[in-house]
Amino acid sequence: MAALTPISRKPLSVVLPTVAIAGGFLGMFVGAGQDNVLLGIVIGAALMAGLAWLYINVLDNERVARWITILGLAAIGFFFAGITGLIVGLLAGWFFAFFIFWLYEGRYRQKLLPYMTAGQVLWHYTFRVICGAIFVFLITPILVVLPLSFNAQDFFTFTPEMLRLDPEGYSLKHYRDFFTNNEWQRSFKNSLIIAPIATVISVTLGTLAAIGLSQSHVPGRRAIMGILISPMIVPLIISATGMFFFYSDIGRFLEGTLGMNKNFVGYVKVVLAHAVLGIPFVIITVTATLVGFDQSLTRAAANMGAGPVRTFFKIQMPLILPGVISGGLFAFITSFDEVVVVLFVGSASQKTLPWQMFTGLREQISPTILAVATILVVISIALLTTVELLRRRSERLRGLTPA
């Protein structure tokens, strides 16, 4: 429907100034590279406005104009800044070739409602730009870390070699450091021991409790729910303080009275503490899955002679499995990412990866942190994908329309 909006060509008095502003913006960056911002703005604005005028009045062939812009700007970019400039030039050329004709032909109205006023159209696109800026704010810090982790220098910033895309400027040495340094390896191993065990505990107990909570007629349901969710709400520093006193007493008891190994007791303490922190996430996701669970299925199973245990494993479990797994992933990431509690409850031999990163950030800043950060980002992308796939599967299983 919206595509039927008639479009018409716009006068040059609208197109040229707009293109000039955009050109000036690009010129500013080129100018900054040559130490003369003002001149860059003027030249950029003039060049782009000139090109637009030329395309519209003289050339009048969009395909040719597009190639001229892309190749021309790429050549200029290569002349000023080598390979990096070439890439920037290609992107800028593609944008301007699109932008000039988008404005001139009035294509920007094509997908909008026909009765919108000029002000409304302007606001529509301004709003998109604002949202784009917020998305950039959200994602930039994470994207900046990735290339910096390949830095050949021990700096936390982009070196000129890196900006020139010179292979000399990049290296894997921070990754090598991560995989060979004992401190990092030990903390990584600790994280891989603690997080899965804590996850298993919170998923087992959490799923059982969520099934109990989802049944009708549970007395004090609200209060129980409040208590079970509270580890997520209470500030971590307070939980950590409370657990610090509690677990040092428990630890003394286990080591002194029962004569257990000190190292083992340390792990037990951290695992139990992390299990508590993961529970709210399991409860929330599993209860959410159980809301759509058809109770008549269990009744049908019971009707056909299955005991409660068999019903649970054959009927209920497969259906709520996606919720359980994504709850488990939340619990895993909570434990895997947790610093405060392990800092208070654990001792040096239970040092986890986040703890090592935290001390690294506070004391001596080593770029190995950025390599670790990149690895963690890759892990979180994998987890995010899994959760998303599971959510869709769960919705399909429950017969909802997949989003």
């Binding site: 911002v37 606001w123 959490g206 307070i238 006193f245």
Partner: protein, 423 residues
């Protein structure tokens, strides 16, 4: 039907009255549900709720003075702290006896550091005189008054005895008074000296910065959620990844990313210098201060605002705004009178969640906050791990917890904890 009512109560298959049989099966179901919940509930109660409650108890517990100096505390009851005169010989004798016992058990330095929170210098006084008092004999060496004053001038100071008497109670409000920049004195609660009043300011700063963070989260999350809720599902799911990726990324990764961005030699400063907006020798100071904390925490907490807002905005029917427009409302009126009021529940839910999370934050302020941008949590951590003033840490924690629980209660009333959604 009529037959059954006439011949008494309705019976189940096994002959018991149906009502009774139903009640029994209901009770059994309740018990089964509770049995499923019980292990987890016990686990959480034991390893989470009880530790926190017992930590809270530490904020008023003060047994150390009366346990270490039991006889002295009894004698102190008879001494009039207002008289301005030193206590009599009986008290000094009791004190010497207590101290000798305490030194044997190596308890006197602990008492010294406890009293040092109230009166600077008492820790070293206990340590120094401890070495000499050890040699006294509680029976033979009487009288003690002169001897003790000779060992350390402090024992001849009325003020010292007044401090000991003030803090001899087993349950004290002293830590709470300290937590709000007051102190317990013989004359009752009084304000701390001007230069020691930092905690009220810190509480104020924590609240103020959390409010700013919540506010900027609302400002940034609103347009995004609106866009996501109004785009076609396929596009908005793609864009949602940009929101969820930071949400799933490790907190420390994001914090270190902000450290990289905000440093003096960081990405933002380098870009600004390169563009010529900022002179090379006048780089912006945007880390290790309040600005650094606010910007990094806004970024970290933004997904917690977007997700609830988005789920509320998704349910607002677009027909309402169209109806308003068809009746002649301008864009602004449509938004302000029709759309915005319906989105308020989302704003409320997100704001409380972000505020609760912000007020107790520790890691990010610690790394990017410097000294000016830290929160009350950092002070609590300092008292737990560095100054070892656990009572004060517990009192600060109790106040913080009270604020958070109040907000949690509001959240439960407004949104309901069952409705919390993740991802």
């Amino acid at each position: 039907m009529t037959d059954a009512t006439q011949s008494g109560p309705m019976l189940a298959a096994d002959g018991t009255p149906l009502k009774k049989s139903l009640a029994r099966s209901l009770r059994r179901r309740k018990l089964r549900a509770l049995a499923l919940i019980a292990p987890l509930l016990l686990f959480v109660l034991l390893s989470f709720v009880i530790p926190i409650v017992s930590m809270l108890f530490r904020s008023v517990e003060n047994g150390i003075v009366s346990q270490t100096l039991p006889l002295t505390v009894v004698e102190l009851q008879n001494w009039d702290a207002e008289s301005g005169e030193l206590p009599d010989e009986a008290l000094y004798a009791a004190f010497a006896k207590d101290m000798v016992a305490a030194i044997d058990a190596k308890e006197h330095t602990k008492l010294g550091s406890r009293l040092n929170y109230e009166q600077t210098g008492m820790s070293s006084m206990f340590r120094q005189s401890g070495r000499k008092i050890k040699r006294l004999d509680p029976e033979a060496d009487a009288p003690f008054k002169e001897k003790l004053i000779e060992i350390h001038d402090g024992w001849g100071d009325v003020n010292i005895w007044r401090v000991i008497k003030t803090h001899a109670v087993p349950i004290t409000n002293g830590y709470f008074l300290n937590a709000v920049d007051m102190q317990r004195t013989p004359e009752g609660a009084q304000a701390q000296p001007e230069d020691k009043r930092i905690l009220i300011k810190l509480f104020g700063r924590t609240l103020f910065m959390s409010l700013i963070i919540t506010g900027s989260c609302i400002l940034l999350a609103y347009p995004i959620s609106y866009l996501l809720a109004n785009l076609p599902m396929r596009v908005s799911n793609m864009l949602m990844i940009l929101v969820l990726l930071p949400f799933w990324t490790s907190l420390l990764v994001r914090t270190s990313a902000w450290k990289v961005m905000l440093q003096q030699q960081g990405v933002i400063n380098e870009t600004l210098v390169w563009l010529g907006f900022v002179a090379d020798d006048a780089r912006l100071v945007i880390i290790n201060n309040q600005f650094g904390t606010i910007i990094a925490m806004t970024h970290i907490l933004l997904p917690f605002m977007i997700l609830p807002m988005y789920s509320v905005m998704q349910t607002i029917p677009p027909t309402y705004t169209r109806a308003a427009k068809s009746m002649g409302a301008t864009n602004w009126t449509t938004f302000w009178r029709i759309y915005f009021p319906q989105s308020i529940p989302g704003i409320g839910a997100g704001s409380i969640l972000v505020f609760i999370l912000a007020i107790g934050y520790y890691i990010t302020p610690e790394i990017v906050g410097g000294t000016k941008g830290v929160f009350i949590s950092n002070r609590i951590a300092y008292h737990i791990s560095s100054s070892l003033n656990w009572g004060l840490a517990a009192a600060l924690g109790t106040i913080l917890l009270a604020v958070v629980l109040l907000l949690y209660w509001c959240y439960d009333k407004i949104v309901g904890i069952d409705n919390v959604k993740l991802g």
